[in-house]
């Protein structure tokens, strides 16, 4: 049987098994609840902002949220605020005019996906190494197929979690925000889930790659949390200290090795940057995983 088919069998079983895992299920439900609550609170905030804006403009206050959003979105001060947040004119141009619900969900998904990844998938390999369950598999298939299969299985699991959270957020918006129940918005939310899923791949590679180094579930989780925090801090430092000349001009290249270095591609509308970002992030994910696999290949199990 080809290695690829074996890898796919491991992946399918891993996905199936992960769905049954109590811990993964709890984290998945918590993530869904967080997405729903985030949407609910964001809509409350939006409603408050709209009312204040209506009062300032001496417009009649609306009972439903979203009526003044378009006006708010087009206002110069709000756009300046968004520019500060994105620090990227192209991204700002692409997201201008998008439904606030989409942006609220996108922000949530991109911000919390690394944490979801570490908590759901970060210790799956360490768990099997620690319990010895890996010993029932690796005389039936190669270590590479097993490692890659676990990774693909968890990628599917995270994809499902993001899709569910997108649907949950859409359902809340539909009932709470005026004009939000359109099929177009639903499709856009699914699309953002997909983008966040691509963004999760390097973090999955990082967490699962690190998981090859230890037999302890808790150690693997801690290592994963430290790694994503390090990525986050490094990205900020690189952005802050980058300069046009001197040694600091090399810092952006270092940033290319981190997931955040390619995140903004996924916020664009055009196909070219989206594909470029997806390829970069997927490659990064596989490179991180391979580092862990290179160690696992040589280790005793």
């Amino acid at each position: 049987m080809s290695g690829l088919r074996q890898m796919w069998r491991v992946a399918c079983y891993e996905w199936f098994d992960a769905l049954r895992s109590r811990r993964a299920l709890v984290v998945l439900l918590l993530y869904l609840a967080a997405a729903v609550c985030n949407m609910h609170w964001s809509i409350n905030l939006l409603h408050k902002l709209e009312n204040e804006l209506a009062t300032a403009l001496q417009l009649p206050q609306s009972e439903r949220t979203g009526v003044v959003s378009t006006t708010l979105w087009k206002s110069k001060p709000f756009q300046r605020m968004m520019q500060q947040m994105t620090q990227n004119d192209l991204v700002l141009k692409d997201i201008t005019g998008k439904h606030p619900v989409e942006l609220i969900y996108a922000w949530f998904a991109f911000f919390y996906t690394p944490l979801l990844v570490v908590l759901v998938a970060g210790n799956r390999i360490a768990e099997d190494l620690g319990s010895g369950a890996v010993r029932y598999v690796i005389f039936r298939t190669s270590r590479a197929s097993w490692s890659l299969g676990k990774f693909v299985g968890q990628t599917l699991m995270i994809g499902l979690a993001l899709l569910l959270s997108g649907c949950g957020a859409y359902a809340i918006a539909k009932f709470r925000l005026a004009g939000s129940g359109t099929p177009d918005l639903f499709l856009n939310m699914v699309q953002w889930s997909g983008r966040a899923w691509i963004y999760s791949i390097p973090y999955l590679g990082l967490a699962m790659g690190l998981s090859h180094f230890t037999r302890s579930v808790s150690k693997a989780t801690v290592m994963g949390i430290i790694a994503i925090t390090a990525c986050f801090v490094l990205s900020i430092l690189i952005r802050h200290f980058s300069a046009e000349t001197g040694w600091r001009s090399f810092l952006p290249y270092l940033g290319e090795l981190l997931p955040d270095g390619h995140k903004m591609y996924l916020w664009r509308n055009a196909a070219a940057p989206l594909i470029t970002g997806s390829v970069y992030l997927t490659t990064l994910g596989f490179c991180y995983l391979l580092t862990g696999y290179a160690f696992f290949r040589k280790r005793d199990v």
């Binding site: 049987m1 290695g3 099997d128 029932y136 005389f139 298939t141």
Partner: protein
């Protein structure tokens, strides 16, 4: 192919300690070999090295004439019951074994059929879809044994297969394993020498990471050269025994009240020895039974 497993001069270190110290062990094809040795002798390490779980410092393993373990060559042809390894707790026996069968290259229907049949064989037909988490230690052990026989592999390595099973299941499992003698190559490690004696046709003694002795069970216990008398008391006059059979060596074991008589099979037969010895023994003590060969335990303790 004479040997299913050829392992030569294996060295495996855990830090400064040598778990395998130039261990050489060859397992004949279709043999059922019992691996015996004290704790830490290297039995588990040897099995794990053969199955490709451990990386050796030196030495060569030739498995089914296909070199050292390589999943692309040996997947589905060799299986192992590893020691101290849990099955995935959320898994169900049938689905787990079917998955393992699929990984070995069986067709989906064949994998499911084989998994179901093996679980029936180990008396788990009523727990096919129970989570592993909910099974008792003994039941889990039986699932672990069953996974070894999915798809009829050529070589099966079993590390302490009968430990943790209740007496009825031990007897059933002994019978289940014995039925495979001569059809598959089995290596069984156990501290229960009676189990090994009942099931195996070859025996290897391992100690301090080295092979002390390897032989067929018949050679090991001296079935062709030893008669063991179970007596009511120790013979009172050994002089009459040695006078009747001058070329025979007599050893009395107080603990088991048995008299071992070792003779040269080229010069005498068991029947001839028995015919001469019984009339000499009976006036001195009662004879409860006569057996060919010593017990494996006696031989093992003698080799230590």
């Amino acid at each position: 192919m004479e040997h299913a497993i050829e392992s030569v001069d294996l060295v495996k270190c855990y830090g400064a300690r040598k778990a395998l110290d130039r261990l050489t062990l060859c397992v004949p094809r279709f043999a059922m070999l019992g691996l015996i040795g004290p704790n830490g002798a290297g039995k588990t390490t040897w099995m794990m090295s053969v199955a490709g779980f451990l990386h050796l410092e030196s030495g060569t393993v030739n498995l089914l004439d296909g070199g050292p373990f390589d999943p692309s060559v040996h997947a589905g042809r060799i299986t192992i019951l590893p020691q101290d390894s849990e099955l995935p707790l959320e898994g169900r026996p049938l689905e787990l074994l079917t998955h393992y069968g699929l990984l070995q290259g069986l067709a989906p229907q064949e994998a499911a059929r084989s998994a179901s049949a093996m679980l029936e064989e180990v008396h788990l037909g009523d727990r096919l879809n129970s989570p592993i988490r909910s099974l008792s230690h003994g039941m889990r052990k039986r699932v672990m044994i069953a996974q070894c026989f999915i798809g009829y592999p050529e070589v099966v390595l079993l590390d302490e297969p009968l430990s943790g099973l209740d007496p009825r299941e031990v007897a059933h499992m002994r019978e289940f394993l014995t039925r495979r003698r001569g059809r598959q190559t089995l290596v069984i490690s156990s501290h229960n020498l009676h189990d090994i004696e009942v099931m195996c046709d070859h025996v290897a003694f391992i100690e301090n990471g080295r092979t002390v002795r390897v032989a067929t069970l018949e050679e090991m216990v001296g079935k062709a050269s030893t008669l063991v008398y179970l007596l009511t008391a120790e013979p009172s006059d050994y002089g009459t025994l040695t006078m009747a059979l001058p070329d025979v060596t007599f050893t009395f074991d107080v603990a088991t009240s048995s008299l071992a008589c070792r003779y040269n099979p080229r010069h005498a037969t068991a029947e001839a020895i028995n015919g001469v010895l019984l009339p000499v023994l009976l006036p001195q003590c009662g004879v409860i039974s006569v057996m060919r060969g010593a017990s494996l335990e006696t031989e093992y303790l003698k080799n230590l």
